[in-house]
């Protein structure tokens, strides 16, 4: 347990509490990102946060750092623009799964192709939360949401394989596995190239309670029971979290494999 409160220097404390619902997992992810920043001692005057739109996206405004709230889905290209204009900056995207994998999905794929040296933290709550609880691209098959009242007929996207295609960084973690989440974010920030952390987190109000969870603690316990850590594996199974093993890059920056 880390009781160090130094991470608070990355937050606008006067804006707290956040507008998130009681029991929302977003605060856990926000805090863990700040702890990772603190561990690496990222300079406050050299770090920029970019978000899309959504409950998760609102976290950009709580960092005591320069930040941009982009249009829904456009955080990655805006972050790339910042990085290409000033390579010295640490550029971090914070947004939801609908924003990054749904409406912004093409940008994700193109940023992997370009291997832009930025880090994306996805608050993956499996739902479009801000708009009230509609199906997202990672909502599990058969799950009921407001726009899939009979259960989601589609399969969720498993995006880890996209990152393999250009040897980029991908990690999956959860709001229960705090030390693991912090480790994933630290490694993602250190990675030279495009890095992405899929942080599974709880939306109790517009998702969990409709699935029968009585409170968000029950959702956390589900993460605890369901997910096993498997770091540096070739691929992650549905019930595994971890960092995907990436092959070393050759001197020209291309995967050596």
């Amino acid at each position: 347990m880390n009781n160090d409160t130094n991470f608070k220097r990355y937050l606008k404390l006067d804006l707290l509490p956040t507008p998130w619902c009681p029991g929302c997992g977003n605060g856990i992810v926000l805090k863990t990102i700040c702890q990772a920043f603190d561990e690496l001692d990222l300079p406050k005057n050299g770090t920029v946060v970019v978000s899309g739109i959504g409950c998760a996206g609102r976290s950009a405004g709580f960092f005591d750092l320069d930040s941009v709230h982009t249009a829904h889905g456009r955080a990655i290209p805006v972050a790339e623009g910042i990085k290409y204009a000033n390579d010295a900056l640490n550029v971090v995207v914070v947004s939801g799964d609908g924003d990054l994998i749904g409406i912004g999905g093409n940008h994700l794929f193109q940023a992997i192709r370009r291997n832009t040296n930025i880090t994306v933290i996805c608050y993956a709550n499996e739902i479009y939360a801000m708009t009230g609880g509609q199906v997202s691209p990672i909502t599990p098959h058969n799950t009921k949401t407001l726009t899939t009242p009979n259960g989601n007929p589609d399969r969720p996207a498993d995006i880890q394989f996209l990152f393999k295609s250009n040897n980029c960084f991908f990690a999956r973690t959860t709001a229960y596995h705090l030390n693991h989440m912090r480790k994933c974010i630290v490694e993602a920030l250190k990675f030279k190239g495009f890095s992405f952390v899929e942080a599974r987190t709880m939306c109790i109000v517009n998702y969990g309670r409709r699935l029968g969870y009585k409170n968000s603690n029950e959702m956390l316990l589900h993460y605890k029971e369901f997910y096993k850590i498997n770091d540096y594996a070739e691929a992650l199974a549905e019930n595994e979290i971890g960092i995907i093993k990436s092959a070393p890059r050759s001197s020209d920056g291309f995967p050596s494999a």
């Binding site: 709230h69 889905g73 801000m130 009230g132 899939t148 009242p149």
Partner: protein
């Protein structure tokens, strides 16, 4: 027909459902969500035999209905604000391909800064897209307008998409008594969609192909010509609707106490209701005021507006949109109605209610006072002096 106390969004969804769309596609965005959520529920519980397609963006939603419509399917989508802006590329395509898609544009402010509240800047941005645009005053009209929209769009002499614009939250989220129309009655009013041209292997066609300088201009000429022809069709469909259902909310325009008025307020959408109350109040004090509601914004009914307003001395145009770098939009179109005519009334424009800024009875009284007092001018009304540095 039965009167139900119902949320505006749900009334619209139920009317769309009885219009028997084959394909519905949408992406969630506040305050449009309740409409499409209710439709997905009706599809899921078997009440509505349609394909409901959840997609990854509004650009895709518009593309899905474009594709379905090209096969001859009746199609529907709904969005607002940022989603609407993202759709715009495809909206031009839909009109250019002459596909009679019907959509709801729930009216909401546009970014940046983000604002989810009502104004009409979103739909006004697409006024040149080739979509017929109708604006609803209340939830009864919003609901009825969708049925009329399918009939106008699918008229074989029109074949243009129709957008029903309704104020976000003010209408979509408010509960009102609404008379819902039964399936049987709708089937009498709205025949099945039978397009002349559609995708079928029996007679291969290409939609949206490259057309060079030798033919492109004519595509625009024909849409413009059809827009003019649709003036009559919109009026006729409103009259048919009146005959069958006994309700008339106006054809191209609607007027209230305009006949003997010396000052008329012109506006679109839900603000009309508030203005009517003020008109009654001022009439009781002997002031000769009236209201003109622009129901069809595209096509723009110049002749009807001229006919209704040529006797008045003063006009105040109230609008929840602005053309940045030019000023009011509707006000300048109203001014153009009088160009070259023997007599021009004093026409004042007021931009108000942007981003959900309250439009109170006082705001409207102020526009009337300013119109009586000042020479023709345009201004923002209801600004917070503290935020703009005072005067």
């Amino acid at each position: 027909m039965s009167t139900t106390f119902i949320e505006g969004s749900i009334a619209v969804a139920k009317t769309v459902a009885v219009s028997r769309p084959h394909v519905i596609s949408a992406y969630p965005i506040t305050p449009q969500t309740h409409i499409v959520e209710h439709l997905s529920e009706l599809v899921a519980n078997g009440e509505l035999k349609s394909e409901f397609v959840n997609v990854e963006s509004e650009h895709s939603a518009a593309s899905v209905v474009l594709g379905s419509s090209a096969t001859g399917a009746r199609t529907y989508t709904a969005t607002t604000s940022q989603g609407f802006l993202l759709m715009i590329e495809v909206l031009f395509n839909i009109a250019g391909m002459r596909l009679p898609v019907v959509m709801t544009c729930v009216n909401r402010a546009v970014s940046a800064p983000i604002n989810i509240w009502n104004d009409q800047q979103d739909s006004m941005t697409a006024r040149d897209s080739g979509w017929i645009q109708l604006y609803a005053e209340d939830n009864q009209e919003a609901s009825d307008m969708h049925l009329q929209a399918f009939k106008i769009a699918e008229n074989k002499d029109i074949m243009l998409p129709v957008m029903v614009c309704m104020d976000g939250f003010v209408l979509t989220h408010s509960f009102d008594p609404v008379e819902l129309i039964s399936q049987e009655q709708v089937d009498k009013f709205l025949p099945p969609f039978k397009p002349e041209y559609y995708l079928t292997p029996k007679n291969p066609l290409t939609f949206g192909t490259l057309v060079g300088p030798d033919g492109y201009m004519e595509t625009r000429y024909f849409i413009e010509k059809t827009m003019h022809a649709s003036l009559q069709v919109i009026s006729d469909v409103a009259a048919d609707f009146h005959n069958q259902f006994g309700r008339f909310q106006g054809g191209l325009i609607d007027t209230y106490k305009v006949e003997d008025a010396s000052l008329v307020l012109v506006a679109m959408g839900s603000i009309i209701g508030t203005i009517k109350d003020i008109v009654d109040e001022l009439r009781a004090k002997g002031q000769k005021v009236g209201v003109l509601k622009v129901r069809s914004y595209r096509p723009f009914p110049k002749d009807e507006i001229y006919k209704a307003l040529n006797h008045v001395k003063e006009i105040a145009v109230l609008e929840k949109a602005v053309s940045l770098g030019y000023g009011g939009i509707l006000v300048n179109e109203i001014k153009s109605v009088f160009y070259g005519k023997p007599k021009t009334p004093k026409i004042n424009g007021f931009i108000l209610g942007l981003g959900g800024r309250d439009i109170t009875v006082d705001t409207i009284h102020q526009t009337i006072k300013e119109t009586v007092k000042a020479s023709s001018e345009e201004k923002f009304i209801g600004l917070n002096e503290a935020l703009i540095g005072g005067k």
